[in-house]
């Protein structure tokens, strides 16, 4: 059994991220991401999941989905979706997320980013697992689109080593990357 880790939080950033040609943009939230990433975070018992976008129309989208599955007809139809969405919310910008964690838990989180590139100061999964067990709040940051704007990566407290695919292929969907990284950091299995 995996233990709940309410000191570990995750933010799925839809701004600031790059588009295909390297411009900084707001990417779109897909409704499936709200469910998938919520279900994955709930599986590993995370404290909170933040969708981050400054677009008010996208806030409404996420809030409409959550209202349907948490309080509306969806809550009766599929109670496990209600359970999965319990710790999900939406914020405008990363600093608001950090502030929210500080307000709720009494300390600002250490930011942990993931990137498709390997950095000299990169941290391995075993090492990060140990660091997170030593206490404190941690916020895992995932970029959508073509990746997190570089100043967020460069100013993070920890940069995780990339997930290296066969023959250098590194184009995982964000949903897949979240699942793999949470399992490496928090999964409980033999071998």
């Amino acid at each position: 059994m995996t233990e709940a880790v309410s000191n570990i939080h995750l933010a799925a950033l839809h701004f600031p991220v790059y588009n295909k040609v390297g411009e900084i943009v707001v990417s779109s939230i897909t409704t499936l991401d709200v469910h998938d990433i919520s279900r994955i975070c709930r599986t590993y018992g995370l404290g909170s999941l933040y969708f981050v976008t400054p677009l008010k129309s996208q806030h409404k989208l996420v809030e409409d989905i959550m209202r349907h599955w948490r309080d509306g007809r969806g809550a009766q139809y599929n109670p496990t979706r209600k359970e999965a969405l319990k710790h999900t919310c939406v914020k405008n910008l990363l600093p608001e997320v950090i502030q929210d964690i500080e307000t709720r838990f009494g300390e600002a989180p250490k930011c942990v980013v993931t990137d498709a590139k390997k950095f000299d100061q990169g941290v391995g999964y075993g090492e990060m697992r140990q660091i997170m067990k030593s206490g404190g709040q941690y916020l895992l940051l995932f970029g959508t689109g073509w990746g997190l704007e570089k100043s967020i990566v460069e100013t993070a407290d920890y940069i995780l080593d990339p997930i290296e695919g066969a023959d250098g292929f590194n184009h995982l969907p964000v949903r897949g990357a979240v699942a793999i990284i949470l399992d490496r950091l928090l999964g409980n299995f033999s071998g």
Copy 2:
């Protein structure tokens, strides 16, 4: 770097699976699943990915997606999607998949299923990793909807232990389960 494992194959079964009330049904293929599961399988260098459904309209859906991204305008727009879809195809039924692997590789694969329940004869991830390294062809079976029809589970060569979530929550999306299980069986990382 993860090594390509062309003796490992995956089938995403949309029939026979259960619906919410325990009836055996054909579930729908979502277009996002075609991309996500293809990208995840390509990350781990799998030999092939089969989408399994007897519905001709769903075959056409998968083939239309693949034509666009492999040969059509999508191939120029995003070459990594073309690469990810290279080993993806669609078949009517599980026995056709097994036959296809036997024809292409000279031997029938051992079937490895995953299930949300734990079985007495369940195999752990470390053990399965060793078994797969000993040679031969392996076919990982994933059910959609509310899970694989039980005779497929009961007649498989190996049943993997379930992914155990915090407080017994076990409602991962199939895309997440594929990512986690391939990483446990084939991922290459320290710690």
